[in-house]
């Protein structure tokens, strides 16, 4: 799912033509200003790692849910069994099987949406026009509460076909709404920027502040306010209203709490307003969820960057150290060579002083002569290019002076 990139700094500055796109999940959207299409693919290892992470996340969630819910469930089960026994004992003319039969029928009736409590007359149908409208809406947005569901074969077949056509349609609509939200946000941010630029605040600060404001304002308008309204009208607790809002706007839609699903007398315009809220709230939530997804990406990118930086630092350090080594070797060999030169010149002086016994002494210098030549030829240009050529140079020089040294030392000895 790539939802609107409303919080991308680029989109705030470039108020270019809104860009709708049909993304993978039909109810989410991805308007991108700069449609940079890079034909790239993730490595297998990364995908596998993320997949394992998701599995781990699921297992952890399962364990936590089990720990939280199982005690409650056992308590409820005990309570209801007690109720049954109590009922049977107070009303002795009822036998087990009759009661169970009744309960079974009642449960399946409730599943079909018929509430046998009270009498027939004061009931609104679950399939009158406004409720069917609401049901159609839940199918199209893929929320799917399930408190109402079709029971006839014809209804089910029609539901399939209806959803096949309606879900992409809703995807388009959501893309459009999200887009408008994005442009409004972009314009507002631009105006805020113009204001703040006079006060010489850095751009990143403005972006961060505007993002935070967007989140807060959106939360207030699409989450907190509706939750308060539901709490007041439906009589739920604060947590239950918030729970309903989140479960609906992420399109999970359990159906244990449904706005407009209880036996209260609702105002006429209540359900259409709820539907409209769902539409805009879905666009907002798609933005928030994509932002969270962006954070995951940024975090993974940052981690990669940091790892990359560490690697780069390590490589740099290794390169420096090896350069140091090579430099030292070069210097050492130069010193050795200098010493050798001096020794050779002293020797020559001595030999010229002492007479003609220089031929055997010439051989060691002769052996080293090619080294001298290459040395003299290559020494001057090498100096500016220390690392690379120096290393080659060192390699070339490395062997010979040693041999030469040995010869000199032998000779001098």
């Amino acid at each position: 799912m790539a939802a609107p990139n409303l919080l991308d700094p680029k989109s705030a500055t470039h108020n270019s033509k809104p860009c709708l796109s049909f993304s993978a999940k039909s109810i989410t959207l991805s308007p991108r200003e700069e449609c940079q299409a890079i034909a790239t693919v993730m490595k297998w290892k990364t995908v596998l790692a993320i997949f394992l992470l998701v599995v781990l996340y699921l297992v952890v969630g399962a364990a936590v849910f089990r720990a939280l819910e199982q005690p409650h469930e056992s308590a409820q089960r005990l309570a209801i069994l007690n109720q049954k026994l109590e009922f049977l004992s107070t009303h002795t003319c009822v036998n087990h099987s009759h009661l169970e039969e009744l309960v079974k029928q009642v449960v399946s009736a409730i599943r079909s949406g018929v509430n046998p409590a009270g009498t027939l007359t004061n009931h609104s149908s679950l399939w009158d026009l406004s409720s069917s409208f609401f049901f159609a809406g839940t199918v199209i947005t893929t929320i799917g509460f399930g408190n109402i569901s079709p029971h006839t074969e014809g209804g089910r077949i029609f539901c399939i076909i209806y959803a096949l056509l309606g879900i992409p349609l809703f995807g388009f609509l959501l893309a459009g709404v999200g887009d408008q939200l994005g442009t409004i946000f972009g314009k507002a941010t631009a105006r805020v920027e113009k204001m703040f630029v006079q006060w010489d605040v850095s751009q990143t600060k403005i972006r961060v502040i505007s993002t935070v404001l967007f989140i807060l304002f959106g939360c207030l308008l699409f989450v907190a306010l509706p939750a308060a309204i539901f709490k007041h009208i439906e009589g739920w607790s604060a947590l239950e209203s918030l729970y309903f809002v989140v479960i609906t706007l992420t399109t999970i839609g359990f159906g244990d709490f449904v706005a407009g699903g209880s036996e209260i007398e609702y105002l006429d315009y209540y359900k259409p307003v709820v539907w409209f809220w769902i539409l805009v709230g879905l666009a907002y939530f798609a933005a928030v969820l994509s932002m969270i997804g962006d954070w995951f990406r940024v975090i993974s990118k940052k981690t990669k960057e940091e790892v990359g930086e560490i690697r780069a630092h390590a490589a740099e350090w290794t390169a420096n150290v090896s350069a140091e080594f090579k430099e030292t070797r070069r210097r050492l060999s130069v010193e050795v060579y200098d010493k050798f030169q001096r020794a050779a010149s002293i020797k020559r002086k001595l030999s010229t002083d002492l007479g003609l016994n220089s031929t055997p002494e010439l051989t060691p210098p002769k052996r080293i002569l090619p080294v001298n030549f290459t040395d003299e030829r290559e020494r001057e240009p090498v100096f500016p290019y220390m690392t690379k050529n120096g290393s080659i140079f060192q390699n070339g020089l490395g062997g010979e002076p040693r041999r030469g040294d040995v010869a000199i030392i032998e000779y001098l000895k």
């Binding site: 799912m1 790539a2 709708l20 993978a24 999940k25 039909s26 991108r32 449609c35 299409a37 890079i38 693919v41 993730m42 490595k43 297998w44 990364t46 997949f51 998701v54 996340y57 969630g61 399962a62 936590v64 849910f65 939280l68 819910e69 199982q70 409650h72 469930e73 009303h91 009759h98 169970e100 449960v107 046998p116 409590a117 027939l120 149908s125 679950l126 069917s132 409208f133 199209i140 893929t142 929320i143 799917g144 569901s149 029971h151 388009f172 408008q180 947590l239 918030l242 989140v246 479960i247 992420t250 359990f254 159906g255 244990d256 994509s290 969270i292 997804g293 990406r297 993974s300 990118k301």
Partner: protein
């Protein structure tokens, strides 16, 4: 200014059309379902009266009792004797629940009862939903190259079809394979395992699940005394995940095909591709996928030439 104006007009048009579509659906559902509902109402009233006539129970105590039973039933607890002794919150079922939460299917056959459970679900969903979407998109991206680009280029090279025809043929085959493999075959399996489901019910279930609507009127593995319940639930989870991936794949292939055939420009949707992750390697050629590990530079394509299969093959 005119493009902005146009986009507003387009949006209003969409909204109106969408409202009309909803009204149409409401009307049809109402016409189909309402008679059945009325009959069921009458039947249950008759049943209640019969029960009350035969026994010494008075109406109010029965009402109270029924209310309590239904309240418990809403959370998946049944007082019928052959209800499953296993909990709704053992590890496999909790895993199943977490999975329905995170893929936004949300059946609702079991819902958190405690306040802490509800609060935890909120945070879990807020993190888990984008996470799952990320994973699915990543897998689909990878699969696209195996399933779409590869066969299409092969198609073009060996059979020598034009790109337009090749993509259409490929999309038709892909659709057929997905429908057979992920709707028909699982529906047969489900209708066999679950006694009370007919084949139509099973197909309905597969469709409602894979579109992540998740009404919850049919949930596999809820039969009392189900053999290998944990294994069954986990395999349903795997089916859900893989099925969702295939739906995304089909949708993506359709989008690419629509781009190529110019449908996207007809609907005035610019060609936007999503770059989801930065740690990608570029595909130099569709056929040389083994060598892409060596390359490190990304070649950005501009939007106009982006999604045609030609550019990818180059």
């Amino acid at each position: 200014m005119s493009s902005w104006y146009k986009s507003w007009i387009l949006l209003t048009g969409f909204i109106l059309f969408y409202v009309a579509y909803l009204l149409f659906g409401a009307f049809v559902f109402s016409t189909i379902e309402r008679p059945v509902e009325d009959k069921l109402k009458r039947d249950i009233q008759v049943l209640k009266e019969e029960f009350l006539n035969q026994s010494c129970v008075n109406a109010t105590s029965l009402e109270n009792f029924l209310e309590r039973v239904l309240q418990a039933n809403k959370y998946g607890i049944s007082i019928l004797p052959n209800s499953s002794a296993s909990s709704n919150w053992d590890l496999a079922s909790s895993l199943f629940f977490a999975n329905t939460l995170v893929t936004t299917v949300g059946y609702g056959h079991t819902t958190p009862l405690s306040d802490t459970g509800k609060a935890f679900s909120i945070f879990y969903a807020l993190l888990g939903v984008p996470f799952t979407m990320l994973v699915l998109t990543a897998c689909v991206q990878r699969l696209m190259h195996l399933v779409t680009y590869g066969p299409i280029s092969m198609c073009r090279q060996k059979i020598g079809l034009e790109p337009l025809a090749a993509t259409a043929v490929h999309f038709a085959i892909l659709l057929l394979v997905v429908v057979l493999g992920f709707f028909v075959v699982p529906a047969v399996v489900f209708s066999y395992i679950e006694d009370t489901w007919s084949f139509l019910d099973a197909i309905y279930f597969c469709f409602i699940t894979l579109c992540t609507i998740g009404l919850g009127d049919y949930v596999p593995g809820e039969k009392p005394g189900q053999n290998f319940r944990s294994l069954y639930k986990i395999s349903v989870m795997v089916y859900l995940f893989v099925g969702l991936m295939m739906m995304y794949l089909v949708l993506r292939a359709f989008h690419r095909m629509a781009d190529l055939h110019g449908l996207t420009s007809f609907f005035q949707l610019p060609h936007c591709d999503e770059d989801i992750e930065e740690d990608k390697e570029p595909i130099i050629e569709a056929g040389h996928e083994d060598q892409h590990e060596a390359e490190d530079s990304a070649k950005p394509l501009d939007p106009a030439s982006q999604t045609s299969y030609n550019t990818i093959n180059r």
